[in-house]
């Protein structure tokens, strides 16, 4: 009897120790984004922590510049301050190549799982290094972001304009509407130097056959195709509001909501939630969204996904991996799509009837994602974007002619890529 009691006591003690260990509180720190992405991730964080009370999550909501700077400094020093980080797609190579990220393949293997095929595969490949199915998996697509083209269907109908198939069609429409519709600019886009103007320009540049970097790894922005694209872009800008060179997200979005702009060649899925809301938009129901028109080549929407990755120096990798799988899983992606309009990275969510009822423009998003083009994989994307952005804006404000702007930009990019 005495022996039985001792054994029972030992077993109970062991169980309580294991139970304690299983419920050991874990705190994850995520370097996340501010704005729409931050709101969406907060929804997932709340749902996850409600189901996992032992896990607390500190979600840092940082601007694009901040998140990059903080992540680089932390990952380079290996301090492990962050358990998960969001990475802007064109900057992902720097992180993947430096060996700063944990290989998720190892964690999938450990958990006896696989990155399932429900993800839009072209997006998952961007998270691999090298960017092909055999590459190591250093992250997963948190958001299926892609730039889209928006236009006022009511004004197109009023002026008997066909749905834009080419950028030439867009120019005709912008001119006609600008000249005939009082108080409405034919077009509006982001003209602030750096990322905004480059992002606005790239779908045009690619559709005209331009390439930022050629097959030999040399910059080629000043190719005849590139110069034609910029000349076209400046022609289109004639129908933009005065001060388009200082336009950023707020001005483009407000222009569309107020009905003072007919065409926006660059809109993002997260902006679209308010387009059909009559309390926010004066032209609710009249803005149509689609993938970009083509020109010399087919439509080339710009893929702007953000990866979620686990730093190799994280001190809570198992818990971080569990949240990473959750936040990119179908349940969380659907939740975020419904509650905040975050464009998902999973095919099944784009087919979900509940989601489609609320976000009728999602088929256009998926179409653009599938046909989209990613920015070049390079270690110096930040510099490329700033240099090109500077010269695009100088052309936009009339300081330089298109050929001079792109020739100078190209010469500077040669130095950057050296």
């Amino acid at each position: 009897m005495k022996r039985f009691l001792i054994v029972t006591l030992l077993v109970l003690t062991a169980f309580s120790v294991f139970a304690q260990a299983a419920k050991k509180p874990v705190k994850l720190v995520i370097a996340g984004r501010d704005g729409d992405y931050g709101n969406a991730m907060q929804v997932a964080v709340d749902a996850y922590t409600a189901a996992h009370p032992e896990v607390s999550i500190e979600l840092l909501k940082l601007s694009g510049d901040d998140i990059y700077q903080k992540s680089v400094i932390d990952l380079r020093s290996g301090t492990g301050s962050y358990d998960l980080i969001l990475i802007d797609d064109p900057k992902s190579l720097q992180f993947q190549k430096a060996g700063w990220l944990a290989d998720l393949g190892d964690y999938y293997k450990k958990a006896g799982k696989q990155a399932d095929p429900d993800f839009i595969q072209s997006l998952v490949n961007l998270c691999r290094y090298p960017n092909q199915p055999s590459g190591k998996l250093y992250g997963l697509p948190f958001v299926g972001n892609v730039s889209l083209f928006a236009y006022r269907a009511d004004l197109y109908k009023k002026y008997s304009l066909p749905e834009p198939k080419t950028w030439t069609d867009v120019l005709v429409a912008a001119k006609k509407i600008s000249e005939n519709e009082s108080g409405v600019s034919g077009v509006t886009f982001r003209g602030v130097k750096g990322n905004p103007i480059v992002t606005a320009f790239l779908p045009v540049f690619w559709a005209f056959g331009g390439e930022l970097i050629d097959a030999k790894g040399q910059p080629s922005v000043n190719s005849p195709e590139g110069i034609k694209a910029l000349s076209y872009f400046l022609e289109l800008a004639k129908y933009a509001p005065k001060g388009v060179s200082m336009n950023n997200t707020a001005q483009v979005r407000d222009g569309l909501l107020a009905g003072t702009a007919a065409i926006a060649p660059e809109v993002w899925p997260a902006w679209l939630g308010s387009m059909d809301d009559p309390t926010k938009s004066k032209v609710a129901g009249n803005v149509r969204v689609m993938k970009h028109p083509g020109e010399v080549t087919k439509s080339a929407p710009m893929i702007g996904i953000w990866h979620i990755a686990m730093p190799a120096a994280s001190k809570n990798k198992d818990a971080a991996f569990d949240f990473l799988v959750y936040v990119t899983g179908k349940e969380a992606q659907k939740l975020m799509a419904i509650q905040t309009g975050l464009p998902p990275s999973r095919s099944s969510v784009y087919d979900d009837a509940d989601v489609l009822k609320l976000r009728p423009w999602y088929p256009a998003v998926r179409d653009a994602l599938v046909n989209g083009k990613a920015r070049p994989r390079t270690m110096v994307w930040g510099e490329i974007e700033n240099v090109l952005g500077d010269y695009l804006q100088m052309a936009l404000i009339g300081d330089l002619k298109p050929d001079a702007a792109l020739n100078e930009a190209n010469a500077k990019l040669v130095q950057v890529l050296k």
């Binding site: 680089v72 380079r76 005065k242 001060g243 060179s245 100088m394 300081d399």
Partner: protein, 292 residues
Amino acid sequence: MIRETRMKGKALFFWAILSPALALMVWLTAYPMLSVAVTSLQNYNYMTDTRSWVGLGNYGDILGDRLFLQSFRNTLVFCLGTTLVEVFLGIVLALVFYGDFRGKRTFMILAIFPMMLSTMVVCAVWKTLFHYDIGLLNYTLQSLGLERFGWLIDKNKALSSLALVDIWQWTPFSFIVIQAGLASVPAEIFEASLIDGASSRQRVFRITLPILRDQILLLALLRTIDTFKVFAKVYALTGGGPGNATETTSLFIYREAFSYFKFGRSSAASMITLAAVVLMSAFYLRKILKEE
């Protein structure tokens, strides 16, 4: 001999009590500066953690970089323009509000209000005021039948608009410094000049300004150093645009260091900026110390 030993002992004691503070100062000031100077001679890429000596290569690159030269020119124009206007307005305001009057205390509190605000808050307010379509300034101009003004979107006006914000925020500082200087001047001097029949103009130019010379030079020195480092206003209001119309050296350094992580180039640009500030400060300090 005893005296010499005592002197040596005193000197040793002096250095012993000074050394902790000196070590701290060297560690906090001299070391970072030396480190920046050394890095400026290297091609140091933080991302890849690679360093190589390039001598004066970074300086050559930067001094040949059109963007840096434009940044430097803009910074110089901004610095000299704002300093001149702020010091001038500070003197004018201090002279106008010299002496006691009812409500002076309330006025002083209101006057220093702009410089108590965070620069980012100031920028947020002014960005709205400057807005081309919905800004109060353009609304007022239009109400008066005038053309709207491209405060931040016109490349020829954007730098002046930034200067306007700085002048609005920091003229109160100039006013307070000059006002404090004026208050320390014995009233008898002004009374004597009145008895001697000096005109208002003579009192200002022959008595007040010469007496305040050191305060004015000190104020100009402080504003020059501060405005040469302008960053937040440019970052928040224009981002350096339109084009490169409002690019400044601080923004250039920031971008090289924290967007590209090229610390060699950013260090070289920092050293050039430091040299410019030291040169300008030396000019003022020489004038101040010469008189002493």
